[in-house]
Symmetry: C2
Subunit: 344 residues, 2 copies
Amino acid sequence: MAGIGSRQMDDATAGTGARRARVLTGYRPTGPLHLGHWFGNVLNMLSLQQDHDAYFFIADWHALTTDYEDTSGLLGNVEGLVLDWLAAGLDPERSTIYLQSALPEVAELALLLGMVTPLSWLERVPTFKERLRDLAEREIANFGLLGYPVLQTADITIVRGELVPVGEDQLPHLELSREIVRRFNRFYGEVLVEPKALLSETPMIPGLDGRKMSKSLRNDIGLRDDPDTMRSKVRRMVTDPEKVRLGDPGRPEICPVFALHRELSPDILGQTEAGCRAGTLPCVQCKSNLADRMIVHFGPFRERRAVLEDDPKLAAQALAQGEEKVRPLVEQTMGAVRRGMRLA
Amino acid sequence: MAGIGSRQMDDATAGTGARRARVLTGYRPTGPLHLGHWFGNVLNMLSLQQDHDAYFFIADWHALTTDYEDTSGLLGNVEGLVLDWLAAGLDPERSTIYLQSALPEVAELALLLGMVTPLSWLERVPTFKERLRDLAEREIANFGLLGYPVLQTADITIVRGELVPVGEDQLPHLELSREIVRRFNRFYGEVLVEPKALLSETPMIPGLDGRKMSKSLRNDIGLRDDPDTMRSKVRRMVTDPEKVRLGDPGRPEICPVFALHRELSPDILGQTEAGCRAGTLPCVQCKSNLADRMIVHFGPFRERRAVLEDDPKLAAQALAQGEEKVRPLVEQTMGAVRRGMRLA
């Protein structure tokens, strides 16, 4: 079913013979991408684009499950994210890049899936409970937040997604989607495709303070940061707290600076590790080396991003192109769903 | 705002000046209509059609909140209900008659309203708790059932409904819709119209066994029943249990047969009541009088219904006509909603 081929995009939707497997991943438009996203997601998406029939969507409705009170930045975030993706090398010809809210049928499918999704399944989702705890001070326990996994299942199944890249921590969500699909199909026939996990190991990218890089922790280095900002942020990064004086031996395995070297400095990785352990490489020098490489590494991204910035309607164009490509698949799925449920 | 006028249907959607108030009512397609529906709803709809800009929709998605396991009768029920409505005198030129599921935007609006609807508001809805109790043996506690009031709010607000006919027992639902609208508008501006209740007193129509007439209790007299069936059902009706022998005085106020006389027998109501109380009118005769009038009363309906039955595509035509009429209003509302939420 999920054979790998090199057929054209359009063939994949025909559902005939050998073709590339359909893979789907969505992204909440919460702000500019940072290095954590780059190494955690974007590189993976670029790789998926090579050998899969890839669907990348911007989950603007999902953003509302928590950030519903102030949506003033939403449209700007969507545009910025598309331009980030394009600058990173996602290709709207090769992949299908679209906006969730451009497809009202996703909401329709979510509504229909909700009719067969037991409340108890949703209430025991770990992230639902966690979010309620984390955000206890806000009026956060809305119906939409509880329904997040149902909407996610609609996202996946409306494009007949076969593979969904997930980390270990996301496996329970995908398992829930699979359960919803099985229950739906049990009532209405083999209408929906049951998605499989594409387990992806992504490196933990630490932020300036050593915790996981995250915009909400304000410890991030942005892909759009200019070279001076990158350099000054790297300079502020925490290092091994026991290495206080030059000559003290350091522990690269716990140093966030070294974690970024792993991704950015293949040319000097060995000597950096050795110099740190021996205490001969001063942290200031080590950070300067990292900043140099980071600035060079993201140079091409920065330049393409600047060009795109001058022509932001390219974002709308890419999304329109994606919508046009995804629409036949959406209509095919919804036709089968409505017929299966005897609504049509 | 809700002035009564005699302008054309199309003017009402323009939102200018004096016009008829928009009133909305929906109906779950659960099976053939019976006398309880006729006196409880249909007569009210016919009256609304006279002096309001009336929207009557078939709530096929709502039917799925409880009857999701077997949907094989759904399409037939929808067609049957439209034909019942047409036979009763609802006029697709004058009113807007449409199918809920023909408008994916209703699901979209429900999804968006769900983002701002606290779970606690939904969990305390009395009918939600009751249904869970009544149907405890079924796996009924689905996400869709909990979200019923959210979907209902979308139904009302997508057509900018100003008035919603409700009985006393339905007031809490409408109040919840009003709360959701106010909360939405507080976040996103005065986008949605807050509906008002149009309190309608509807008579309690008893079924054959004296309990409220209901298809699920199998105590109903159907509008489509043929004269012989009507007569035989009336003959089976319970009467005052203390009136066992001819000559025993009866209590019309507790007799289900007399309750139907009230609706159907203005010509003999006084003498029926007097004869019952005096014990001079035998129940058999009283029932025969009722059956005579019932058969005559529903004669015109039965005849029109039979004609329509021969041309069932009229149902699809009426729904298509309604969909075309409602669409500009739906697009106007959804444009305002998407802009208000900064999704577009």
